[in-house]
């Protein structure tokens, strides 16, 4: 009996100490004050020199933390505890955070540099009149491929090239229901936000015909496989494709003409902010033409900042694979928040497609 009590007490004491330490760490790590802001961003998603420059110019110190998924980021903000002043959610996450009331409206009078952003990227359906968000980087979903490993006639100018019998057992897909179902819908010339059971059925049936060509449906593991020439064709995001092409110069990227997804990562001020003025100063700083140009150079994604594009290497900005032309851009669609019911349906159809692979 005695050792049992001792053990119980020991466990309780250890738990207590752990809670206490965690609490201290959290409040010490991000105590809100007027001369500090905490930025919560994706990994490798900012030029670190710019953070220093921001501190030099404004005297505001930056605590920089990173996350690797939208969901993880939202969970941490929802829990509170840490005083994040800036976060960088993707557009569908913006809608969820809005629904959960996790965002603070932006004061546009404190963001004069907002005029640098190309109007094409403002006032988008996920955030009308940019009440909560400023676009940070954007990109597309498309096909990254290695022309040396596949038939010459495959250019992925059309989604239907993925169905080509020459690609039997060669195609990798990203493990996302919106991406894959969206690709199926796009290949039929339909909207990737369709809420129509008959259309989704048709898209799924078409995808099931793709099964013989599928090698695997995976996540970030596609990147090393493409870099090492172990995979030759993959459906992926332009950002990931840019990373791969940086490492392996043989690779090419295409956005099929039927249209595809247009995604945005956005700067927002979450409810956890302790220094709202500092956060506005930071957003305005990141919108500055020179800063945005330097950042886009470093990160390698497409910037929505028109003034910055003028300052960038014309060759980069003219690369239609990452800065598609008007005609194609008009065919790109932003994911709308489908609501849980339709999101569930997309996932059920996606599951059915996955089950058909063998």
């Amino acid at each position: 009996m005695k050792p049992l009590i001792q053990a119980t007490i020991a466990i309780l004491v250890i738990c207590g100490i752990l809670f206490f330490t965690a609490d201290r760490l959290e409040s010490a790590g991000s105590k809100g004050s007027t001369d500090t802001i905490t930025v919560y961003n994706w990994g490798e998603y900012i030029d670190p020199d710019l953070i220093k420059q921001f501190t030099e110019e404004t005297g505001i110190k930056v605590v920089y933390e990173t996350f690797d998924s939208n969901e993880a980021m939202m969970t941490k903000i929802q829990q509170g505890g840490s005083a994040y002043d800036i976060a960088v959610p993707s557009e569908y996450m913006v809608e969820m955070m809005k629904e959960k009331d996790l965002l603070i409206p932006l004061d546009h009078s404190k963001l004069p540099n907002l005029q640098n952003i190309d109007p094409y990227y403002l006032d988008l359906p996920f955030d009308p009149s940019n009440k909560y968000t400023v676009p940070y980087f954007w990109g597309t979903v498309g096909v990254v491929f290695n022309p040396n490993l596949i038939d010459d006639h495959l250019t992925f100018d059309s989604w239907d090239d993925l169905w080509d019998p020459a690609l039997s057992g060669k195609v990798f897909l990203v493990d996302g229901s919106r991406e894959v179902m969206g690709m199926g819908l796009n290949s039929l010339g339909e909207s990737l936000n369709s809420k129509d059971d008959a259309l989704l059925r048709k898209a799924t049936d078409k995808l099931i015909h793709l099964s013989p060509n599928i090698k695997a449906i995976i996540g970030d593991e596609i990147t090393p496989l493409m870099i090492n020439n172990e995979a030759s064709v993959a459906l992926t995001w332009s950002g990931q494709a840019a990373d791969m092409m940086w490492e392996n110069e043989e690779l090419d990227y295409a956005i099929p003409k039927e249209g595809s997804n247009l995604w945005f990562d956005n700067l927002v001020i979450p409810k956890t902010a302790a220094n709202v003025d500092g956060a506005h100063a930071f957003i305005n700083f990141m919108l500055d033409a020179e800063v945005a140009a330097q950042n886009a150079d470093y990160v390698g994604y497409a910037t929505p900042n028109a003034a910055a594009m003028q300052l960038m290497d014309p060759e980069v900005v003219a690369d239609e694979r990452f800065y598609p032309n008007e005609e194609l851009k008009n065919k790109l669609e932003v994911y709308e928040n489908l609501g849980l019911e339709w999101l569930g349906k997309y996932n059920e159809y996606f599951l059915e497609f996955k089950m058909s692979i063998r």
């Binding site: 009996m1 049992l4 119980t8 969901e71 057992g169 990798f172 493990d175 996302g176 229901s177 599928i214 090698k215 695997a216 449906i217 995976i218 996540g219 593991e221 090393p224 496989l225 090492n228 020439n229 172990e230 849980l340 019911e341 999101l343 569930g344 996932n347 059920e348 599951l351 059915e352 996955k354 089950m355 692979i357 063998r358």
Partner: protein, 268 residues
């Protein structure tokens, strides 16, 4: 007095079981009867009995069976020979050590090993064959799973074999039984308890494998575990996710019953 002490000392365990066994299962059952808006419904159960999920259940079962079968096939002889070696506990240790390494790390290592330019294909090339696509096949999935479960199967079998009284074997031999008959009639029946608990520790987790199905099998193998992960993380349909979990619990319960120890005699 004796009685009182034992109930008192059982109290922490009782709390533990209520908090960490009964309450979670009750919560899962509760959530399985909720729809997206939190209303009471049995639609999730109806949805489970559609071809997609039934096929998935069968697939999970089939792969869990294959994994358990091959794990047992490798583990029993290994455990048997281990007990015959001189430094058997050292050897056992060496087999167990890999299980200390993080599962995900081992899985990633296999991506490299099985790759088109990996060491395994280098060996294939030495023998004059074309590099084979090993990753994202049934073979790679079952191989990696079996590799991961082997220590968990060997330990209980090893313990059972180790505890086996050698005089029984001598007796069998003295009475004229051949090596094979001794094994079949004496050794195996006496170690069946170890085999059963080995099967439990393999089959049940194998049913709900999910990371390996993506990393090694490239989602060509979809198990119930994958579906639960997707329902919770992507669809945010906790109801359906819980419903699948309920069926998983039922299946586990049945397999526990089938492999449970009978407290009949026969032990020494």
């Amino acid at each position: 007095m004796r009685n009182k002490v034992s109930t008192g000392s059982l109290f922490p365990y009782f709390i533990w079981i209520v908090l960490f066994v009964i309450a979670p299962i009750a919560l899962i059952v509760y959530y399985s009867m909720l729809d997206l808006d939190g209303n009471f419904t049995l639609d999730n159960y109806k949805a489970f009995f559609t071809p997609v999920y039934l096929k998935m259940t069968l697939t999970s079962f089939w792969y869990a069976f294959l994994i358990t079968f091959f794990t047992l096939l490798i583990s029993y002889p290994t455990a048997f020979f281990l007990t015959k070696t001189k430094h058997k506990h050292l050897w056992l240790m060496l087999i167990i050590i890999p299980s200390w390494i993080n599962l995900l790390l081992k899985t990633y290592a296999f991506i490299g090993i099985f790759g088109l330019y990996g060491p395994l294909n280098a060996v294939v090339k030495v023998f004059g064959f074309e590099p084979q696509q090993i990753l994202f096949t049934d073979f790679s999935f079952i191989f990696v799973s079996v590799y991961i479960f082997i220590p968990f199967m060997i330990i209980p079998i090893f313990n059972a074999l180790d505890k086996l009284n050698p005089t029984l074997i001598y007796a069998a031999r003295d009475l004229g039984a051949s090596s094979f008959t001794t094994f079949r009639r004496v050794v195996f029946p006496l170690t069946i308890a170890g085999v059963k608990s080995g099967i439990q520790t393999t089959f049940i987790p194998a049913l709900s494998l999910f990371m390996i199905t993506r990393l090694i099998a490239g989602n060509q193998v979809i198990t119930l575990g994958t579906a639960i992960e997707q329902q919770f993380l992507v669809s945010q349909n906790w109801g359906m996710g819980s419903t699948i979990a309920v069926f998983l619990i039922i299946i586990m319960f049945i397999s526990m019953l089938l492999t449970s120890q009978k407290s009949k005699g026969g032990r020494v």
